[in-house]
Amino acid sequence: MSKKMYTRLLRLYPSRFRKQYEEEAQQLIHDRLRDETGFFNRIRLWLDLATDLITGLPQAYRNSYVEKQVASLSPNIEGVPSFKVLDTEPLRSGTILVGGTMTLCAIVIFGFVLSHPLAYGPLSGSSKKPSAIESVLENVNKATLPDTSASTTQQPAKPASQAASVNTPQPLPPPPFLPNSSNAPGSSGVAAGPQQAIPIRTQSSNKPLAYPAATAPSAGFLVSATPPQPPAQINALAQEPGTGCIAPQLQYKARTGTHSEPTVSGTSVTGACLQRHDAAVRHARRRMRRSPQR
């Protein structure tokens, strides 16, 4: 009678506890019923069981009841590693229900997000004012880059030496040294007309070199086929003292060749930026040419 009652009380415990310790618990009750005879002892026994139910039940639910097995990658006979399954019990229905519900919610949310295009917004934590790199990237994406050389392509071609002497650093004029593809020595060919070209100084010839927009390599050149309207932000960056033209992914190193000549490096090949640096190089060369005469 008492054992049957306790067996029913054991149903309040978690199933894993019952699976592991039900037999032992019944054995313990059997031993106590055998040893503790008499009215008061039985009363004390049932009081103990009631207390045990109150105090032991939460602890029984706190335990995880993970069967300890050695999880190893021990090789089998053929020497191939094999895994051992730690939990041999099947998934419980509650676990399957929760997992299925969460998966369904994830699929619904994913479909909702895909069906509603999100507007572009600034990154969280960033200030309202875009950074220099962001502004340059924005202009790159617009495919409108500052290139004032388009107006120079319409001008008649001049020799490179003449052009260098005519150009002045401030204010930034269109580069007059841009050679024509037909008559400029040392150039690799310039497509005049609607295509715009960016003058680049080469290391060997120390003469300006221009690439047509269609054939210019994309890594170090920014070539635009749109009308030459320089964005204000890039011009501001280029003319800001100490800032330079900031476009790290489009950096170009223009070396003048000899170590005695000034070197401009780490600049981006945008139109205004290149003009500025060319003017600075020419100005420095002029000063160096004058200095030995003094």
Binding site: F17, L28, D52, T55, G56, Q59, N63
Partner: protein, 116 residues
């Protein structure tokens, strides 16, 4: 993150560890040993006993051992438990903590001369 069920060590778990410090015991013997060493103040029921044993097993403080041969022939199949090295260290640390508390209680003259 594993549950920290044994921090601080519950009284029932500590008493079970003390009972197992004398040797390997099964569940009912542990209960009797605990009742004896506490002077009858603590009688562990099945839920508390096996819940604590399970927590100690998960904490590697106690391990299950095979049934001794001299008792396995004519008795029921029982599980025997043994205190591990880590469990012994834990029990010693807990006992030292209690000893410190006892020292403070003596210094404050809370205890009478019987316990000194």
């Amino acid at each position: 993150m594993p549950k920290r069920k044994l921090d601080p060590l519950p009284s029932a778990a500590f008493q079970i560890m003390l009972a197992l410090a004398a040797g390997d015991l099964h569940g009912y013997a542990i209960m009797r040993q605990v009742e004896e060493q506490t002077g009858g103040r603590l009688r562990l029921g099945p839920g508390t006993l096996y819940g604590s044993i399970q927590a100690l097993l998960e904490g590697n403080l106690v391990e299950e051992v095979g049934q001794p041969e001299e008792t396995g022939t004519h008795q029921e199949r029982r599980r025997y438990y043994r205190l591990t090295t880590a469990g012994r260290k834990q029990a010693r640390a807990e006992a030292e903590k209690m000893a410190d508390t006892l020292r403070v209680a003596r210094a404050r003259k809370i205890l009478r001369g019987d316990y000194v």
